[in-house]
Symmetry: C2
Subunit: 722 residues, 2 copies
């Protein structure tokens, strides 16, 4: 017997009659080794074999010539051995990449929990594992106990846990074992909450691996003294444990999540370092892939939290029975308990009773003003408009649902300075007036008009009083969710969410196609209120689109021809509708001066509030329009707004339908007012400028004083005058 | 030259002087091939080489012996060749598994977007790719265009897109190219929105791959006629394209997400099938791993939606300035604008003015009833309790914040039958009374009492009128989020969320440690209201815990001793507090009979409503307690509830502190009342039973009639009498 000294160095031959020689084998066999020629076959750092020629015949020792022959012969032998070994290595690597590919294939199939993911991967790679049986033990990941479970311990009534713990401090508890049987008939056994004396656990090896995170390769398991594996058959199959390879499954946070144990290599040999390598690859991959199972859990939690918040939100925004009662007073009058019982016609009359007739006539006016009406009364006005366009009866809208929806929409608007329920209502009312008084209804079906009116009411729901740019700059969740038309997409989503609640779904009695039409119109109408789209896409780039339609209609001989020209093409109808939404959204600028001057201040104040936020929260200088310190420039900004944005809209609409001319007239009148204020301010500035110049001739100190507080005070007076 | 006929079959030798022989090479070189001995070296199905001996010397052709020598010699040569080839294969597989391992390592490092994920993986595996340069083109995944982008097309003003499309119908648009340079100095170039004439795209190959999903291996790229690769150097490095291997990256949904292109194998040879295999492995893995980037996007969306919903919810639940004004009327009286300006002492007086003194005294009573007080007034009462325990001044709670918090807590309770704001208030009031009148305060610091009172008010916030079991059975989002103590965890989470808003954070002026103490007490107090815990853990299993404390204290000589015994151990304080929460939660059962009888009906009604839901929504038979048809059994159930749950609590508390005895007395009095009603009902039942038996002697038909409608009517009368 030769002790192994070849491992580190490559030696071509050694003759041993020296201290390295051990007579162990001779003693065992009775054979007498006299002389010996030996050489290793080495590949890289690995000794593949040792060739020995023992006891030279006819001589007392091997000659130099013997050594040469031996060495030459080995050149050939070693190549064959190397081929064999390389092939073995190739096989290992091939199995390794197969295992990885199949595991990846399964892991990326879907997002799922630890158990399912491990099982899918482990089952798929079974043929590459080259063992008779393997099991996976899943560890309880609970780090902290509930406070009430710790009370008895803290009170000293129960002994604190002293058993094995994972390196991160968890108690080692295998909550499930999955046992894969490959020998004989393939079978999978799942053992939930396995007892500690289960054959997979009784040796203590999995617990040891979970405690220390070591890879353990037991070459002769039954003979092991530290771990006491079950000696006989483990179950009715008669299968016995011979060799065991056990590895921890560790996630990227270095927590031990489970233990994988492989039993009995298929060829009967013990597991070697390559087997360890393959098994480690698999467990490592499984461990890493826990990112996905963690994500799965996080995602479920997020989804649940989102659902919970949305349900709570709905609970808070949905009009309560009392609120509905505050609108539908007729219920008490008629002593009706279930609203569905009464006929719509009756209802219309009752609602008309509630709202005095002269006011209903007002609702048909472009010059209508919400200012004298309470927000609560506006809900009734809103309801009335649906009755006026005759859709309640036609589309079988339960009046209680319509009321609940209208009230809920009202509650959906926040109490911000301008983009509140009053604005929402005004846009709805203007849409109504454009359709009826402006006679644009003739291009649309009743269903479309219904959708357009409803969309108009919803178009700014849950507006926060700050614009899209502010959402982006403050990276609000809204901006992170929607890439463009941020607020508009939110208004749309909110509007659609309301309709998903059947008790709020005013379109509940439409068929599927009708409902889809409505939703599509909501999308187009609400997104179209993004003025940035107006600037970028709708009109400044393709200004021609609406204008062309108006041009074409202007040339038509008869109304019928124009109606046909528009209605035959859904795109034209959409473009007109989008433009109507813009006309509604900006309609405050067309109102009588006493209204416009008040509303313009609300708009301006909301802008200034945003400007304040930009200064304080974002630490940025607001643009002049939002800069409270430049409030005197409001008239000038208004003139610019009228000239560059509004005039086109109302001019084209007046050209399209002469009935809409009152809007253009209102606009032009307001332009005169704003222009005179702007001129007045310019004049005043000029005077101040000149005074400054004169004073500059005098002392410099005095000039500084003037342009400070004093000057500002004068400016704000101009503004308050509006 | 020999045409290749060895590929499919293994032949040891062939002599060609026949039709298979081609004189192409001879013509090229001028050499004359007269005879030829050739044999292939084959491994598996692959021809590794062909060995040829050409033109036998000294003879006209090769002899049989020549063939034998040739063949024998080849045995050795082929082994060396095979070793070489196996080694090559081993290298391939080894690179393959390395690429997979490294890609996996990066992919599972974190959840991130497509770009970052691809980049991390591709950069990490660069050394295994064995090419001079490679690039990845990322494709735009947009499937549908915005409606306004399609208008010009639909109107016929713009030509519809006719360029290349992916198999799933997207326009082929590479929105980004990442170009990895490995030759010379390593470098990475990122080309956002690359022009179509960029050298990586100009050939049309990536577009072709994106269109068809084929793997393309161009052995001699510059010579290709179909794709026109850039002939000269592509950039300032002087590098030129020789060979190109291009592959699609396909996700599990079979959408082509990008194209990976590898240029110039490092050894100058064209890419072979093994290179294709490796590259395919990589792109396949990258494609599969898109599950993670998709998940990342989904998760961000979910998170944003959750944040949006929670912000909206807060906006709806948080008390508005008007609501706060409705409580803090003194503001108007004192003409104070900023609440922080006024001193707390003044405030207390003013609040006392608002709430008449006799009523304040009521708040100290165990027999206090909320029934005569409006819900709005109860907010003021709640506020008062914080002043009474003197924590407002001590912990610098801004009165406006306290008011906003209290009002918001009130709004957080839903308008359900029993678990509404009135119940929330009552639990707070009982906690206050236990502390003050019951003198349990002596075990707790002011801070702890503050936390306990606040937690008591919050303990059932946002209760839905259905219990934990119902949440589980209906798999509500709440049940999916919380594994146990479902509603309690929700009440707790909601309470903590409120405190996260600084304008609601009544603990805003505590230091970090104090704040953590408060949060911990909230957790223990609110979770402890889960009666299931009471049954399972707190007392039936460990009933001894609270009892032992009471026993120990009973034996103490002095009050000081008892106080020390309790206060020295935080666990004892927690246990007493948990038991106090139970005593508060169940306190309705201790109220004067006229109150208890009313409240018991509210509880019962809420149960019956849940029972109705179980029948209609879950299609399950409710338990008797929740079964409206068994409403007559209420008195009996109440007696059982008193005996098995309540008596222990109030008996122990009365034993602990005799000041709490009024609660026990109230309980015992109510037991008498319930028992007599139960007995009455039993008596009535007995009579009916006997009548039935007598009638059974007569006709069977009549019996059926009796146990139906008539019997039920009588039962409900008994109940309404309560």
């Amino acid at each position: 017997m030769v002790s192994c000294c070849f491992v580190k160095c490559q030696m071509w031959e050694c003759i041993f009659q020296n201290s390295h020689f051990s007579d162990f084998m001779d003693k065992q066999t009775g054979y007498v080794t006299r002389n010996l020629l030996a050489t290793p076959i080495v590949m890289g750092k690995e000794v593949l074999a040792v060739f020995m020629a023992v006891n030279k015949v006819d001589a007392s020792e091997f000659s130099k010539q013997d050594e040469e022959v031996f060495s030459k012969y080995l050149s050939f032998v070693s190549i064959i051995l190397k081929l064999h070994h390389t092939n073995y290595l190739y096989n290992i690597e091939s199995r390794r990449s197969q295992i990885l590919m199949w595991s990846a294939n399964k892991v990326f199939e879907e997002l799922t929990d630890v158990e399912r993911q491990f099982h899918k991967a482990l089952y798929t790679v079974r043929t590459y594992l080259n063992c008779e049986r393997y099991s996976i033990g899943l560890l309880d990941m609970t780090k902290e106990k509930e406070f009430y479970d710790e009370w008895p311990v803290k009170l000293g009534e129960v002994e604190p846990y002293k058993g094995p713990k994972t390196p991160d401090g968890r108690e080692v508890i295998f909550y499930k074992i999955i046992d894969y049987i490959l020998h004989g008939k393939e079978e999978i056994k799942v053992i939930p909450t396995p007892p500690t004396d289960h054959w997979t656990l009784v040796s203590g090896l999995p617990t040891y691996v979970a405690e220390n995170g070591f890879i353990c390769n037991m070459l002769n398991a039954p003979a092991d003294e530290y771990f006491t594996f079950q000696k006989g058959p483990v179950d009715e199959t008669g299968w016995v444990i011979k060799n065991v390879l056990s590895l921890p499954i560790v996630n990227k946070k270095e927590d031990i999540v489970g233990v994988a144990t492989f039993y009995n290599r298929k060829d009967g040999k013990p597991f070697d370092e390559y087997d360890e390598h393959i098994a480690e690859t698999l467990t490592q991959f499984l461990g890493w892939s826990l990112l996905n199972t963690d994500t799965y859990e996080k995602m479920n939690k997020l989804e649940n939290r989102k659902d919970i918040a949305q349900e709570m939100l709905m609970n808070h925004t949905k009009a309560t029975p009392d609120e509905i009662k505050s609108i539908l007073k007729f219920k008490e009058k008629l002593n009706i308990d279930v609203i569905e019982d009464c006929e719509e016609k009756q209802l219309v009359t009752i609602l008309k009773e509630d709202l005095p007739d002269p006011r209903t006539a007002d609702l048909y006016e472009f010059r209508f003003s919400d200012l004298p009406i309470t927000e609560h009364e506006l809900i009734k006005c809103g309801l009335r408009l649906f009755f006026e366009i005759n859709v309640v009866e036609k589309f079988k809208v339960p009046v209680e649902v319509l009321t609940r929806w209208m009230y809920t929409v009202r509650k959906g608007y926040r109490a911000v300075t301008y983009h509140n329920w009053r604005h929402g209502f005004n846009v709805g009312q203007t849409m109504f007036t454009l359709l009826m008084t402006g006679r644009l209804k003739k291009y649309y079906t009743d269903l479309e008009a219904f959708a357009m009116l409803a969309a108009a009411f919803c178009h700014d729901i849950d507006h926060r009083g700050t614009n899209n740019l502010y959402q982006m700059k403050s990276t609000s969740p809204l901006a992170r969710l929607h890439g463009s038309s941020i607020l508009e997409r939110h208004h749309l989503e909110y509007s659609k969410t309301l309709l998903q609640d059947e008790s709020l779904n005013i379109f509940q009695n439409l068929n599927k196609r009708q409902y889809e039409t409505v939703i599509h119109l909501f999308e187009v109408a609400i997104i179209a209120t993004d003025l940035a789209l107006y600037f970028n896409c709708l009109f400044f780039r393709k200004r021609t689109m609406f204008q062309k339609i108006v041009d074409a209609c202007e040339k038509m001989e008869t109304e019928e021809e124009a109606i046909k020209y528009v209605t035959i093409d859904p795109t034209k109808k959409e473009i007109i509708m989008a433009m109507m939404m813009t006309a509604c959204d900006l309609s405050a600028i067309t109102k009588p001066w006493e209204v416009q001057s008040q509303v313009a201040l609300l708009v301006a104040n909301e802008f200034w509030e945003q400007g304040d936020l930009e200064r304080t929260v974002l630490q940025q200088q607001p643009i002049p329009m939002m800069d409270r310190n430049k409030k005197d420039e409001l008239p000038k900004l208004q003139v610019g707004f009228i000239d560059f944005v509004c005039t086109f809209v109302y001019k084209e609409f007046s050209r399209f339908h002469k009935e809409i001319t009152p809007m253009l007239n209102g606009l032009q009148n307001n332009r005169v007012e704003w222009k005179s204020l702007a001129d007045e301010y310019d004049e005043k500035m000029k005077v101040i400028e000149e005074m400054k110049k004169q004073e500059e001739g005098n002392t410099t100190e005095k000039a500084v004083e003037d342009s400070g507080g004093g000057g500002d005070d004068k400016k704000s007076k101009t503004c308050l005058m509006l």
